[in-house]
């Protein structure tokens, strides 16, 4: 399978701290891939490198063959990468519908003076945009909530709205940063199904950062493990669950010497 995103030796430093160290990474097209790792392992920093939030210091990131490591975030978005955030970052004082409409910004072409004059093509464009936004709203089960301010939506709805907003940019690759954070088991299950739908119905490649092992192990086809900014493992969920280095990273060195069996047991318990 062709890979949609390739990262070669990506490195990011903050002063003396190397947050991401020479990470090689690849996402096959239409796959669901996860990055896991303990807190502070550099997962979100790696996300930021891909989306142009903080430019990486060394290395190369290719998206469909185009190098993107020097581009601005808006340019990267236009190429087809979109993301959500660990701590939800909606436009809190705008309505749900407006949030999605902002996501469609790239596809709307009307120059400002045509908008002021209200030319027919502008009206048509706005009408289509509104219909599309409404469709996305329904897609994430927020039908009828379009006029509510984002800040007043319940937590789970805010998560879904953020995904809808990201979808509005028509991404080929969607980066989800801890989408299940703060969700109850029921919501988490819905989310897992929802992420699958994104891939199966819309054909979007998904890159996931997750702490919730059930989600990760349940839907990922491939998992990369980061620890202290370095890639320590990569493979299928089953391979990762039995990888001693991963267990060590999660449970500390003691666990590894204590005996693989118990550690493995504990790890899978945590995951389950």
């Amino acid at each position: 399978m062709a890979s949609i995103l390739t990262a070669n030796k990506v490195t990011k430093r903050f002063g003396g701290l190397t947050a991401v160290n020479a990470v090689d990474f690849e996402i096959p097209e239409k796959a669901i891939v996860s990055i896991i790792g303990p807190n502070g392992a550099g997962k979100t920093t790696f996300f930021n490198c891909i989306t142009g939030f903080g430019k990486c210091d060394e290395g190369e990131i290719l998206f469909e063959g185009t190098p993107i490591q020097r581009l601005r975030p808006d340019q990267i978005t236009k190429l087809g990468i979109s993301r959500t955030y660990q701590n939800i970052r909606l436009f809190a004082d705008m309505s749900a519908l407006e949030n999605i409409l902002v996501g469609q910004h790239v596809f709307l072409k009307a120059p400002w003076f045509e908008s002021v004059l209200g030319l027919p093509n502008v009206i048509k464009e706005e009408k289509n945009a509104l219909a599309e936004a409404q469709r996305l709203l329904n897609f994430v089960d927020l039908k009828g909530k379009g006029d509510m301010l984002a800040r007043n939506l319940p937590y789970g709805a805010q998560r879904r709205l953020e995904i809808a907003r990201a979808l509005a940019t028509k991404p080929k690759l969607l980066l989800l940063d801890e989408p299940s954070a703060g969700m109850n088991p029921r919501e988490t299950e819905d989310l897992t199904a929802f992420i699958r739908r994104l891939r199966d119905e819309l054909g979007i490649t998904i890159l996931l950062i997750e702490h919730h092992m059930r989600v990760v192990m349940g839907i990922s086809e491939n998992i990369t493990v980061l620890d202290y900014g370095e890639k320590i493992a990569e493979g299928t969920p089953a391979q990762i669950q039995s990888n001693p280095r991963v267990i060590e990273a999660y449970l500390g060195r003691g666990a590894a010497t204590e005996g693989m069996a118990t550690a493995h047991e504990r790890f899978t318990k945590k995951a389950g």
Partner: protein
């Protein structure tokens, strides 16, 4: 938790009230406000404001007491009000004593306003023997404040309304008097409106009139509203059409009826609405605080000045109607040039950087360096008035060109240009707000990083906000130049920018009606009330702080908040 003694807490409220009252006296408000009456021969505005402090002190003290002791304790609440008012009065009494009854009070070597005339005012012109008056009056008004708190909500609202209307009428009574006398209703005018405030019958009429009307509305309002709602569609349209037509007629006829002064005030308000709408785009929509906004106003004014002036620096051969669009375009270009470098600068740094730009523009315009082009400190004079008709060719410096047709020379004429421009720009601002660009601006205001990650080009979008805002300010400046007929660099102060920022904040950031409300309140009122205008910037300062503390969304919040309120209404309706 230990409960505070309510008496001590009342004393504290009283002390605070007293300090504020002393501040009001020493800063000079009492004296200046005393030139205007609320009720002629009964109470001056200065006294009214002082009394208000003790009323408010009493009100706060009794509210605290109720919080401490629980409701249904009228006696302690009233005592608290009395104590607070008394303390306020005593502090003012202390001020009276320290001013003393001499022709040159010692305190005056420091505080200019601690003058014998203030002494006279505070002792109600009765001299030292009447020191007891202030504390007594204070105590009574504190009691009033407490009593007011104990009234039912409905009565309070009614009294508020009545007081508000009464004070408003009193402040503008000389204006109304003139208008009514001009309309040939001299007897009526003199019966209600005095020279400096309302007459006693006038006060009674307004106070009780409002109370009666609002009592009537309380009992019948719902009925009237629903009967209007029940009207057939055509009827409603007709009703709305009539309202709009009435407003239009008043707007068209107003300057002719009221004379040049009112027209000029309204033009000033309209100019600030133009600037306000412009800054509302950069600050209210896109969240970029520009403290050098006056630069664009100046650029608009200078462009029109240079293009149309028949003075030394003018180009003389361009008419106002051509010069204005050029001025708007030049201002827009300036927005591009000044915006380009600073838009990478974030947040509060941007405010200071733009402030720097504003000052640079002003200093350069007024300097000898650019004197050959901009007239230096002498400015540009002899700006040609707009002419409807044919403008004859330029003859000679300092001789106006002759207008074959109608020359719009009076403020009443400029009024139409200014009001029409304000309406047009309000429409443009509203359309922009609803467009994709408007959404992009608001997204940037809310979260710049996320907006960029959604594909919004920050530089392009911010630059457009800056340029369109600048264009609107430029239009304002262009009209200003024509209205005044001359421009000086010294009139392009930072204070103008602060005016605009304040009116946006007061009206509500991002809200178009808010800009209009803010301009009327902050620009129109002080223009009409010379007494208030002396303390304009002091009041602005206080207003900015209070708005930030209590009501950061402004008096007329923007659409989003309203829609949200509306939405919850719909929901409750559905449930019901």
């Amino acid at each position: 938790m230990k409960k505070e003694n309510f008496l001590w807490s009342s004393v504290k409220s009283g002390l605070l009230g007293g300090v504020i009252a002393i501040f009001i006296c020493l800063v000079g408000m009492t004296e200046v406000f005393s030139k205007r009456d609320v009720i002629e021969g009964v109470i001056t505005l200065g006294q009214f404001v002082l009394l208000a402090t003790s009323v408010v002190a009493g009100f706060i003290a009794s509210r605290r007491t109720i919080n401490l002791l629980g409701p249904n304790q009228p006696l302690p609440a009233l005592t608290a009000g009395l104590v607070a008012g008394l303390v306020t009065g005593l502090l003012v009494g202390l001020l009276i004593v320290s001013i003393g009854d001499s022709a040159e009070p010692a305190l005056r070597t420091i505080f200019l306003n601690a003058s014998p005339s203030l002494y006279q005012l505070l002792t109600f012109e009765k001299g030292a023997g009447n020191l007891w008056i202030m504390p007594t009056v204070g105590a009574i008004s504190g009691l009033l404040g407490a009593g007011y708190l104990l009234l039912a909500e409905m009565f309070r609202r009614t009294i508020n309304r009545a007081l508000l209307v009464m004070v408003f009428m009193a402040l503008f009574s000389n204006l109304f008097r003139v208008i009514f006398i001009n309309q040939g209703m001299e007897g009526f005018a003199k019966f209600i409106f005095g020279q400096t405030g309302l007459t006693i019958p006038g006060t009674l009429i307004f106070f009780f009139g409002v109370i009666l009307i609002s009592l009537f509305w309380n009992s019948r309002g719902k009925q009237i509203q629903s009967s209007v709602a029940k009207l057939p569609k055509g009827g409603q349209l007709a009703l709305r059409g009539t309202t709009i037509a009435l407003i239009a007629i008043v707007a068209l006829g107003l300057p002719q009826a009221s004379g040049p002064f009112i027209a000029q005030v309204i033009v000033t308000v309209a100019l600030f609405i133009l600037m306000g709408l412009g800054l509302n785009i950069t600050l209210g929509f896109a969240g970029l605080l520009d403290l050098g906004f006056v630069a664009f106003y100046a650029i608009g004014a200078y462009t029109v000045g240079l293009l149309t002036s028949y003075g030394e620096f003018g180009m003389q051969h361009i008419s106002f109607w051509v010069a204005v669009p050029i001025a708007v375009i030049v201002a827009m270009g300036a927005g591009f040039v000044l915006g380009l470098p600073v838009l990478g600068v974030r947040g509060d740094y941007l405010a200071i950087a733009t402030l720097g730009f504003g000052e640079i523009v002003r200093l350069l315009a007024g300097s000898d360096f650019l004197l050959p082009y901009f007239g230096g400190p002498q400015g540009i004079i002899g700006i040609q008035k707009p002419c409807i008709g044919i403008l004859e060719p330029f003859v000679k410096i300092d001789v106006p060109r002759i207008c074959n047709g109608y020359e719009m020379g009076k403020p009443q004429d400029i009024y139409y240009i200014a009001v029409a421009s304000a309406l047009l720009i309000a429409f443009v601002a509203w359309r922009l707000r609803e467009s994709r660009l408007g959404r992009a601006w608001m997204a940037i205001r809310e979260d710049e990083d996320v907006a960029e990650a959604l594909g919004i080009n920050l530089i392009q979008t911010k630059l457009l906000a800056y340029m369109l805002g600048a264009a609107m300010a430029g239009l304002g400046g262009a009209i200003f130049a024509t209205l005044i007929g001359s421009i000086f660099a010294t009139s392009m102060q930072l204070l103008v920018s602060i005016n605009v920022v304040s009116l946006i904040i007061v009206g509500g950031m991002g809200s178009i009606p808010g800009v209009i409300v803010g301009s009327i309140a902050l620009i129109g009122l002080p223009e009409l009330l010379r007494e208030v205008s002396e303390f304009r910037y002091l009041l602005y300062g206080i207003t900015l702080i209070i708005m930030m503390l209590a009501k950061p969304e402004g008096l007329w919040p923007s659409q989003a908040t309203l829609r949200e309120l509306h939405h919850s209404e719909i929901e409750t309706d559905v449930k019901a």
